[in-house]
Each structure stands twice: as structure tokens, then as C-alpha cells.
């Protein structure tokens, strides 16, 4: 069963929800936590332990200069500008390459072969016997978030209980994290902007036909439309986290509030139970 935590924009508290949901569930059963926010993974800050890592690569063209006749065909073909043919050389931008393989097919003299280009790495660790953490770390400057997320998801079994932390927003990368999940928990703030972004991502999630639940973070009990929107759309609000400096502080120090603060254990436990139910457990 896969439960994905997503949000319409960054900084809504997605991390707080993913971390605490995974922790609470792990007190009862084995949980896999997958950090798919590959441009800025941060779940490992809450679960520090020995890490094993491996590279994730994509094939990019490797051009044999000695046989290239500078005919220009590969540069004409590549729609991503990942290689261009100049008067005296073929200039490559491997970080723009989409690994379509087309350039090697159009080369008339067979000068193009493939080599692996590292786009990032996957780190795995077991911070607790019942908690397995998989983190995707995109290489800086790489445009390949979607491919990186696919690599992370390849590490996950459909038999496991998996909590995925999606990248914020409605990008292609976020879609890669959402697709095929059994429940999407949307984290939002009770502000007009929060509502706007929530509506955007809700439309997208609905297209995937995934059940949705909402967590309202920094709740100040002044409804700015988020709650009425959820009511209208019959989206269950499974947790409200109040605006609290203490929580923000603890979070900032890498503390897990549902573990370290008894007041928080109960609300997160209830939310975890709700999530499992909505996901069809």
C-alpha cells in the first residue's frame, strides 16, 4: 500500500506530516519511507543512521571524435539542444539529454555510442528495525527529477506499506510520485494562497482517481475557505496542526513531535488510522 504526501507548493509542512505518519505507523508495523522530493530531500535529517548508496544513471551519447565527419545530423535531430554541431566540434550538454537514443540512430558513420551519465543517487538506511528509508538525491543542476523519482519507486515493493514524500507543486516530477498510489494526503495552509494551490493540485490528483485527504497546517481557526472547499468536495480533513512556535522549533532541530511530545502522539495516531482506512487497508 502506497500513501503519498503532497502539497500544491513548498513549505506547507509536508515533511512534518510524512515524518510523523511514518514514525507512528512504524510503532505498529514495518514501514518504508520514500523521499521523492529529490531536489531537496530532507527526511533523512529526522532519521539519521548508517547509509548505503548507489548511483542512478541515464544513457547519454558518447561521440568518437576521430570518426565524426561533422555532418550535422545529430545536432539537427536533437530537440533538446543536448548536442549541437559547430564548425570544428560537436558540443554536448549531457544535463539536457533526454536519453532518447535518436542521435546515435541518425549518425551516418556510427560515431555515437552510449555512456552512463550520473543524474543522482539513491540512499537507503534502516533507522529502526521497522523503518526503512529510501532517499532520492538529484544531482545539482540536473533536469531529471522524474527519472530520479522513477528510480526511487523501483526500490519500493507494492507489498510494503510505503509513505512517499512527493515534490511540491504539480510538476511532471510530482506526477511521477503520485501515480498509482492508494491515497494522497494533501498538506495545505489556511490562507488564500494555500487554498489556491490546494485547488490546483486537487484537480490533478482527481485525474489519477486517487482517494484524497487533507491536513491543514498552521491552523489558526480562521477559516479562509480551505475547510469549506473540503466540505464541498467531500474531502476528509484528517488533521489540523495549530500554529505553534514550539512545533516549528522542534521540527527545525530534526525532532519528531509525535515521538518526543506526548501531546502530539494521539492526533497523529488518529490521522494514521484514518489514512490507512482511506487507503483501503
Amino acid at each position: 500500500m502506497h500513501i503519498v504526501i503532497a502539497s500544491g507548493k513548498g513549505g506547507t509542512g509536508k515533511t512534518t506530516v510524512a515524518v510523523n505518519l511514518a514514525f507512528i505507523l512504524s510503532t505498529e508495523q514495518r514501514v518504508v519511507l520514500a523521499d521523492c522530493d529529490v531536489e531537496e530531500p530532507n527526511l533523512h535529517l529526522f532519521f539519521q543512521s548508517q547509509v548505503a548508496e548507489k548511483d542512478v544513471t541515464l544513457p547519454v551519447p558518447d561521440i568518437e571524435k576521430s570518426t565524426c565527419i561533422l555532418c550535422g545530423k545529430c545536432g539537427e535531430f536533437c530537440r533538446y539542444g543536448a548536442l549541437i554541431v559547430l564548425n570544428d566540434q560537436v558540443l554536448q550538454y549531457p544535463n539536457l539529454c533526454h536519453s532518447c537514443g535518436g542521435c546515435s540512430m541518425v549518425c551516418p558513420v556510427g560515431s555515437i555510442s552510449e555512456r552512463p551519465e550520473i543524474i543522482g543517487k539513491i540512499q537507503v538506511s534502516d533507522p529502526d528495525p521497522s523503518l526503512h528509508l529510501v532517499t532520492g538525491v538529484l544531482r545539482e543542476g540536473s533536469i531529471h527529477s522524474p527519472a530520479m523519482i522513477r528510480a526511487v519507486r523501483k526500490e519500493l515493493s507494492s507489498d510494503d506499506l510505503v509513505i512517499l514524500d512527493a515534490p511540491p507543486g504539480t510538476s511532471c516530477a510530482a506526477m511521477e510520485a503520485l501515480e498509482g498510489c492508494d491515497l494522497c494526503v494533501l498538506v495545505t495552509e489556511p490562507t488564500p494562497f494555500g487554498l489556491h494551490d490546494l485547488m490546483l493540485i486537487y484537480q490533478v490528483v482527481r485525474m489519477f482517481e486517487i482517494p484524497v485527504a487533507v491536513v491543514i497546517n498552521r491552523n489558526d481557526n480562521q477559516d479562509t475557505g480551505v475547510e469549506s472547499f473540503c466540505r464541498e468536495q467531500s474531502i476528509p480533513v484528517i488533521l489540523k496542526i495549530p500554529f505553534d512556535r514550539d512545533i516549528a522549533l522542534k521540527q527545525g532541530r530534526g525532532r519528531i513531535i509525535s515521538r518526543d511530545d506526548p501531546v502530539w502522539r494521539e492526533p497523529f495516531s488518529r490521522m494514521a488510522m484514518e489514512s490507512l482506512k482511506l487507503a483501503g487497508a
Binding site: G81, I84, Y93
Partner: protein
Amino acid sequence: MKLAIPASGPTLDDQVDNRFARAPYIILINPEDGETSSLANPYAQEGGGVGPRVVQLLVQNQVTHLIAPRIGGHAETALLATGITVFMWEGSGSVSSAIELYKAGKLAAMTQTS
């Protein structure tokens, strides 16, 4: 020599476009004999990697000099590899006014070390 200028339209009266790779037209001029032609930019509407592709287009058209506004990082490395001399364009004006400024030696060439 051949001078290229990104422009909002196909004539000398059109404005210099302040986007290099996404300008709808590129005007080509030989300042020595005044011969001009225009090129519709096939990449103006495309997604990513347009900077390098426009540079490739300039090379295919034997461009030696370029007057251009802000240039992205990928286009910049490509331009450096071609040896095309780049003159910086700030402000606004028509293509013909840019040519006049160029002829009067009033445009600064971009240094190769940036």
C-alpha cells in the same frame, strides 16, 4: 562578415528583441555591403535547450558577429565555442538603430573570460 540580431519582426524597422534564443526573428546583415536577410526562428516557441540550438543555427548561417541581450548559460558556452563575437545590447531600439550603434563602435564586445 555576417552580423546577426534577434528581432521582434523580419525587417530593419522592427525592434531588437530582448530575448536571444526566443526572439521570433533573427536579422542577418553584412555591414560591409549592406545586404540583409531575415530568418524566422524555428525554436522561438519550443521548450528547453533552445539557446544551444539557436547558436547552431547561427553557425549554419555563417554568422561571425552577434548583437544580443541577456544570454543564458548554455547559449553562452556554445557561443564561446564558436568564436562568434558577441556585442551586448542594453535598452531598446530598432534593428537599424542597433546597426548604426555597431558601425559607430558604440557597442561593447562581451569578454571571453566571463
